[in-house]
């Protein structure tokens, strides 16, 4: 009997000991903790997320970030493994339509209350907001925005061609490229040859020719639009672009051409805004190149939107829940978005951040202005090449067509249109 009593006492004692922290947690004394995974490990991306972690720790949290270097898909493989094991991170990087797809395989956190408290919905572009609330509720928060169709012009190549302003339409672009060619610029276009690169050449062509056709074909996969004349025109424009490129580029990334680009041996680079950060990290000066919105035939800027975001996975641990709320508040904070974008070269998600001050470049100001104009004229569309318009499987099937077309110059625009429509049908 005495033994049982002791045991009972012991049990009661430990129950109280267990309940105590829970009580303390209820009082808000729990230390917020966040487990997060992302692909951002090095360079300006790594620096930016480390800075975000510092802010998290300053607010009294415990920051546990495990980067998975490589492509986004590598990070997804880890996320998949963790979800299957029943142990998802409190928060992970994820973007575009993948947010909706992944939210079906594991429960996510309802962020509506914290988003409403911050008045965040008013300052986010509507198309972008939609991606982060797939079931009508906010489950993910966008962090930063890039445009994938910025046009970088080499100052020295422009001098050779005696050009003083960036081209506005595709016709201007083609003229300038011809001029550069005759003026001795070896390759008027400086792109790389990765899959995403080839996809960007197509999406920039199509969106510049007709943002309406882009929305119907690339975003809504409308069968008629996919076989429409704009698609054929876009493939024809893309062929011109590939003819001005260095054929030896193979499957190498665009970054290997940056020196030849700055030297004026190559003329124009169609690339996301992140190339600015890469150029500056490589030691080139801001007056070595000019940044302009990508060509648009109706004269108004077209913005191909690419936004990084965090999705929040449901966890039972009170410290992780507190960490999620703290993280959500930080990600929406204008000061944090400013800090983040100034490190990576992107622009903030919030449309009410003032970019006129110190720390922002002309390129970033021009990008933000382009976004504002594009939203006003309904010409802000979601990037296909960077997985914002469709889920991975469909995107990859479409990029197969673009990358084969870029490398095989015997494929005609007509054949490419048929193949694209077939690729979409085959992976629906």
């Amino acid at each position: 009997m005495p033994i049982t009593t002791t045991r009972r006492r012991l049990l009661a004692g430990s129950a109280a000991a267990l309940a105590l922290p829970a009580f303390a947690r209820a009082q808000g004394a729990v230390k917020p903790r966040l487990t997060a995974i992302s692909q951002w490990s090095a360079g300006s991306d790594g620096a930016a997320i480390t800075a975000l972690g510092k802010k998290f720790e300053e607010k009294g949290g415990i920051w546990q970030h495990s980067p998975v270097p490589g492509f986004t898909t590598e990070m997804m493989n880890k996320l998949r493994a963790q979800i299957i094991a029943g142990d998802p991170p409190a928060c992970s990087q994820l973007k575009g339509p993948e947010i909706a797809a992944w939210s079906k395989i594991a429960p996510t956190v309802d962020l509506d209350a914290v988003v409403a408290a911050a008045g965040y919905e008013k300052v986010v572009a509507p198309d972008l907001a939609k991606l982060h609330k797939p079931g009508g509720k906010w489950i993910a928060l966008p962090l930063q925005i890039y445009s994938t169709n910025m046009l970088f012009l080499s100052k020295r190549a422009m001098d050779k061609a005696k050009a003083d302003k960036p081209p506005v339409t595709w016709a201007d672009f083609n003229d300038l490229a011809e001029k550069m060619k005759t003026a001795g610029v070896t390759f008027p276009v400086a792109n790389g040859g990765t899959r995403a690169d080839d996809g960007q050449k197509f999406e920039a062509s199509l969106a510049g020719i007709s943002p309406t056709a882009y929305r119907a074909a690339a975003m809504n996969l409308d069968k008629k639009a996919l076989e429409g004349p704009e698609i054929k025109a876009a493939f024809a424009q893309m062929r011109k672009i590939t003819n001005w490129m260095d054929p030896n580029v193979g499957a190498q990334p665009y970054a290997i051409n940056l020196k030849r680009f700055v030297d004026g041996d190559m003329g124009m680079l169609i690339m996301g805004g992140w190339a600015q950060g890469v150029l500056r990290n490589a030691g080139f000066k801001l007056d070595d190149f000019v940044i302009a919105p990508g060509p648009s035939d109706n004269g108004k800027p077209v913005f191909l939107l690419n936004a990084d975001a965090f999705i929040f996975w449901q966890r039972k641990e009170p410290d992780l829940q507190a960490g999620q709320m703290l993280m959500a508040q930080l990600v929406m904070d204008p000061a944090i978005q400013t800090m983040y974008s100034q490190i990576t070269g992107s622009i903030p998600v919030r449309t009410d951040v003032d970019l006129s001050g110190e720390g922002w470049s002309d390129g970033q100001r021009r990008t933000a202005a382009a976004l504002k104009d594009a939203v006003a004229s309904n010409q802000a569309v979601l990037s296909l090449a960077h997985n914002m318009a469709q889920e991975n499987g469909l995107t990859a099937a479409m990029i197969d067509v673009f990358t084969e077309y870029a490398k095989n110059k015997t494929i005609t625009p007509d054949q490419a249109v048929t193949r694209l429509a077939e690729a979409v049908e085959g992976s629906r």
Binding site: I84, N248, R419, G426
Partner: protein, 309 residues
């Protein structure tokens, strides 16, 4: 491992039954064998099951029949990959066989420095395929590799752009794969050549056969079993080739050098289409079986004949 074996067979131990004495040996062989067999079989069955489900991001239950197979077989990626596999498999196996045999015959001439040469030819086998692929991708790149070297030497019309030429790119994989593994064929052939009874060779010489005739009529026919082993080993490498291609061309230019293993990886881990990826993996398994089953049958027949003789 050597420890266990040596204690088991150490002389002067108390006499125990044979089974107990040899227990470590049994454990050493059967436990890993059963574990790997269970591993292999259970995951194969699991993959086959997944290939009939509508799984995308994560494995799910459900039945879609042959839908995944139809979709993989109809995709351009798979068709290109299959054509490439035929071309690569045949070219690589034949050429590495010939290169290995020629090297072995040349080394067989009792030349000086044979050991050094043998090491040099075998050395590529010790290098990882990723390293081979990366090094060859630099050598074959027209802008920085062999083409540039020859241009700089003064032959400016020289042209060697196979790596970025979509019709020829598959041959760059053949070149790199031969460089890597013809040493393996050479080593096996050399062992075969050395094991030929010298009396037979002498008899041939006494009969007046020259060296070429001796090789062609007397020595090479004894190499048949080795040739078949080399072919089967190289073929299964060709079918499952992944790391070399990924480092060398990554399926490019465009999708011109796709191979089945790349398609499987791409579907499963890049496109998040587990069901289709599993279907492509099962198709690969079927191709492998098409090579291995005839080989197993041939071995069986050989053994039966040997037993009867």
């Amino acid at each position: 491992m050597t420890d266990a074996v040596s204690t088991a067979t150490r002389p002067g131990w108390p006499a125990t039954s044979d089974m107990v004495r040899r227990l470590p040996e049994y454990l050493m062989i059967w436990v890993p064998l059963l574990l790997s067999a269970a591993h292999l079989i259970s995951f194969s069955i699991w993959t086959i099951w997944i290939s009939f489900t509508p799984s995308t991001l994560v494995p799910v239950t459900g039945w879609v029949g042959l839908r995944n197979y139809n979709s993989v077989l109809a995709s351009r990626n798979w068709q290109i990959a299959f054509d490439n596999l035929l071309l690569f498999g045949i070219a690589f196996v034949l050429l590495s066989l010939i290169t290995g045999l020629v090297l072995a015959i040349l080394l067989d001439q009792r030349i000086r420095g044979e050991n050094v040469l043998r090491t040099i030819f075998l050395y590529p086998l010790a290098v990882s395929f990723v390293v081979t692929g990366t090094v060859w991708s630099w050598l074959l790149n027209p802008g920085i590799g062999i083409e540039k070297l020859v241009h700089d030497l003064g032959w400016s019309s020289f042209h060697f752009d196979w790596l970025v030429n979509r019709d020829m790119a598959i041959w760059t994989i053949v070149i790199a794969a031969i460089w890597q593994s013809s040493g393996f064929a050479m080593a096996l052939f050399l062992a075969g050549l050395r094991s030929v009874d010298t009396d037979i060779i002498r008899a041939a010489q006494i009969d007046g056969a020259g060296p070429i005739r001796t090789y062609w009529r007397v020595i090479l026919p004894t190499l048949w079993p080795i040739t078949i082993t080399v072919v089967v080993v190289q073929l299964q490498f060709a079918i499952s080739a992944f790391d070399l291609v990924r480092a060398l061309t990554n399926g490019g230019p465009g999708i011109a050098t796709q191979l089945p293993a790349l398609v499987v990886y791409d579907l499963m881990f890049q496109r998040s289409q587990l069901g289709r990826g599993a279907a492509a993996a099962v198709l690969m398994l079927l191709i492998l079986l098409a090579v291995l089953l005839p080989y197993a049958a041939w071995r069986y027949v050989q053994r039966r004949q040997a037993a009867h003789a």
